[in-house]
C-alpha cells in the first residue's frame, strides 16, 4: 500500500514538474528572449503610433495580462499563479475574449475527432493483431503485417491527402465526388444548432468523418503490430499453454489468459498516444479546415497571438502529461505485479 502511494506521489510530482518547466520556458520565450513579443509590441507602438513609453507599456501590460512595472521575478510569480488558475489572459486577435474560452470551445472538437479515431483504430487494430498472432501460418499474415507496417510508417497528413482526393475530389466516373468536401469544412453545418439532438450529432459526425478516418488509418497499423507482438509473446507463455492442457475452452483462454495479459502493456500506449495525437492534429485540421485546437494554434501563430499560442501549447502539454500519468496509474491498477516490491537479492 505504501509503495502504491509513493508511486502515485512520485508520478504526480513529475507531472507537476513537467508542467512547471513548460510554463517557465514559455515565460522565458515571451518575456526574456531578445526581441521578445512584448518588447517588440512596445517598440512598434512607440515607433509607428507615436505613443509614449509609459503608455505603450501600459497597453502591452493590458494586452499580455502582465504587469510590466513589476520586477521580472514578480511578473514570473504572477504568471505562474495565473497559469495555475488556467487563466492565460485575453486573445490578441479577438480582443476581450479570454484565451481559455477559445480553448474550451475548440478543444472538445479535437478531442472528439482524435478520440473517436484512436478508439476506432484501437478496436480494429487489436482485434486484427490478436487474430494475426493466432493465425501466424496463414497466407494473409504477412500481407496484413506488411500493410500495417506500411500504414504505421507513412505520415498521417499524407493519409489525409489521399482521403481528401479519394472522397472529395475524384468523381469516380459520376458527376460528383463521394463527399461534398467544401460543405464539410468546419465542425458542423451552418444552420444546425449545437445540442444533444440527432440532427446535430449526425452532422457533427459527417463533418468529423475524414479527420476521424485519418487518425484511425494512421494509427491502426501500430495497434496491429503491437498487439500481434504482445499476443505472440503471451501465447508462448507457460500459463497459456497450461490453460490449453487443462482443457479450458479456447474462448475462455482468449479472454481470461491471453487477452488481458496481451492488452496490458498496450493499454498504456493507448493513453500516451491520445496525448500525442492531439499535438499532431495541427496539419490534419488545417487540411480539412476543421475548427479544432490545432487549427487554432496555427491561426494564433500566423496572427502572432501570443497569449493564445501559449495557452494552447500548454494545454497540449498538459494533455500529454495527464494522459501518460493516467496510463501509468491504470497499468499499476491492472497489473498486480507492479505493486510488488523488488527487494530480493541473491
Amino acid at each position: 500500500m505504501q509503495t502504491t502511494i509513493r508511486f502515485i506521489v512520485n508520478r504526480l510530482l513529475k507531472m507537476l514538474f513537467t508542467i512547471w518547466l513548460v510554463t517557465t520556458i514559455i515565460f522565458f520565450l515571451i518575456r526574456l528572449m531578445p526581441s521578445n513579443p512584448i518588447d517588440r509590441y512596445i517598440e512598434t507602438q512607440m515607433v509607428q503610433y507615436g505613443l509614449g513609453a509609459e503608455e505603450a507599456k501600459a497597453q502591452a501590460s493590458f494586452l499580455f495580462s502582465m504587469d510590466l512595472d513589476q520586477s521580472l521575478l514578480e511578473q514570473y510569480g504572477a504568471y505562474l499563479l495565473k497559469v495555475i488558475q488556467l487563466d492565460f489572459g485575453n486573445s490578441l486577435l479577438s480582443p476581450g475574449v479570454p484565451v481559455m474560452s477559445i480553448i474550451a470551445e475548440r478543444l472538445p472538437w479535437t478531442l472528439f475527432t482524435v478520440g473517436s479515431g484512436l478508439l476506432l483504430s484501437f478496436v480494429i487494430g487489436i482485434s486484427a493483431g490478436a487474430l494475426l498472432a493466432y493465425r501466424r501460418d496463414r497466407w494473409y499474415e504477412p500481407v496484413v503485417s506488411g500493410v500495417s507496417s506500411f500504414l504505421s510508417s507513412i505520415p498521417d497528413f499524407l493519409i489525409a491527402i489521399f482521403l481528401l482526393i479519394l472522397f472529395g475530389v475524384v468523381t469516380w466516373g459520376g458527376g460528383n465526388p463521394i463527399l461534398p468536401i467544401d460543405m464539410l469544412r468546419g465542425n458542423y453545418s451552418i444552420g444546425v444548432t449545437p445540442g444533444w439532438n440527432l440532427a446535430f450529432l449526425t452532422d457533427a459526425f459527417v463533418h468529423g468523418l475524414l479527420p476521424i478516418l485519418t487518425y484511425a488509418i494512421s494509427q491502426v497499423g501500430i495497434w496491429v503490430l503491437l498487439m500481434k507482438g504482445s499476443t505472440i509473446s503471451t501465447l508462448s507463455a507457460d500459463y497459456v499453454t497450461l490453460a490449453k492442457v487443462r482443457g479450458i475452452k479456447p474462448r475462455r483462454i482468449l479472454t481470461a489468459y491471453v487477452g488481458r495479459n496481451a492488452l496490458l502493456p498496450i493499454s498504456t500506449e493507448f493513453a500516451m498516444r491520445l496525448g500525442f495525437i492531439i499535438g499532431g492534429s495541427l496539419i490534419i485540421e488545417q487540411l480539412f479546415v476543421y475548427q479544432g485546437i490545432g487549427l487554432e494554434l496555427l491561426k494564433a501563430t500566423s496572427g502572432q497571438d501570443y497569449p493564445l499560442m501559449q495557452g494552447i501549447f500548454l494545454i497540449m502539454t498538459i494533455a500529454i502529461v495527464v494522459s501518460s500519468f493516467l496510463a501509468e496509474i491504470f497499468y499499476a491498477v491492472l497489473d498486480p505485479r507492479i505493486k510488488a516490491t523488488k527487494g530480493a537479492i541473491t
Partner: protein, 332 residues
Amino acid sequence: MKNLLEVHHLSKDFQHKRQPPVSILQEIQLQLGKGQTLCVVGESGCGKTTLGRVLAGLLPATTGTYSFLGKDVTRLSKKEKKEFRRDVQLIHQNPYESLNPTTMVFDILANPLRKHKKMKTIAELYPEVTRLLELVGLTPVSDFVDKYPSHLSGGQRQRVSIARVLAMDPKLIVVDEATSMIDTSLRINLLKTLQEIQERTNVSYFFITHDLALGRYFAQNQQLMVMYLGKIIEKGQTEELIGQPLHPYTKAILSAAAGNKGLLDESSEFETYVLGGTDIPSFTQIPQGCPLHPRCPQKIEGLCDRLRPPEIESTTGHYVACHLYRKSDSPL
C-alpha cells in the same frame, strides 16, 4: 607455506533504497593455498555467488579483512591493484552470456594478450592463441579461431571462457557454477580440463556449486565448505566432511543427495537425516541465533534460538558452527 588468500570475519551487506541493510555474508573465515582448491556448496540464495564475487574483487566487503598474497586487498597501491585484478579471475555460470557475441574467438583471446603481453601482430598472437585453445581442448584450433560465439555449443563456449581467463596467467580462478548449464555427458570433461590446468599452472580454484556430488568430485583431497544463509556452517577436508558430516544441515543435504541417487550410488551409506520446514527463510528474516534452528531437529532450546554458534574445530582442520559440538570448557 604462505596462503594465497586469507579471509577473516568478512561480512557483506546490501542495502536497498530506504530499507534496512541485508546481511548476505556473515563472519566468513577462509584460507586457500597456492595450487589448491576450495569448494563451496550451498543451495541457491545462500550467498555463495556473492562470496565468489567478493573474492574476485567485483564487490567490496562491508567489514572484515581479505588479503591476497599477504596484502590487504582494500589497501593496495594502484600498481598492486592492477596486479590483483589480473591475478584473480572469474568464470561465469552462463556461457551464453559471458562471451561477446560480436567478437570472434580469436579476438576474445587476443584482446587480453594485446593488452597484457604487449603482443601486436597476428604472427605473435597466433601461437599464443593456439596454445590457449589447445590447453582447454578446443582442437583442431583452426576450427575455432574464426568462429563467433553463437556458432559454438555451450561446452565449447565455456572452454573459450576458460582459455580467456588463462590468458591472464591468473593465480586464483573463481569458478561460479561453470558446469551447471552444460550437459551431463560433457560436464566431467570440462572439470578434468580444469584439473589438468591446475596441475600445469599451479592455479588455485574457488569452486562454487550447488551439487554436493560435483563438489565432492572436483575437490578430491582438497577443502570443502558448506554455506547456509550467508554463513559457513562447516568446512574441512573433502573426504572427512563427506564421511563424517557434523552439522545438521550438512547431514541433511548429504542425506538428500544420497537418497536421491539411490541406485546410482549403491556403495554409499548415509544416515537419513531430515530437516523440518521446506523453504529457506529470506535474507531479510534471518532467524536469531543459529540460522538453522527453526528447521533443526536437534536444536537446544534456549541456546540455538538465542546465541549464534561459534566456529568450533572438532578435529584438526574440520570446523563446524554448531552448538552441538561446543566443548564443555568453552565459554558461551
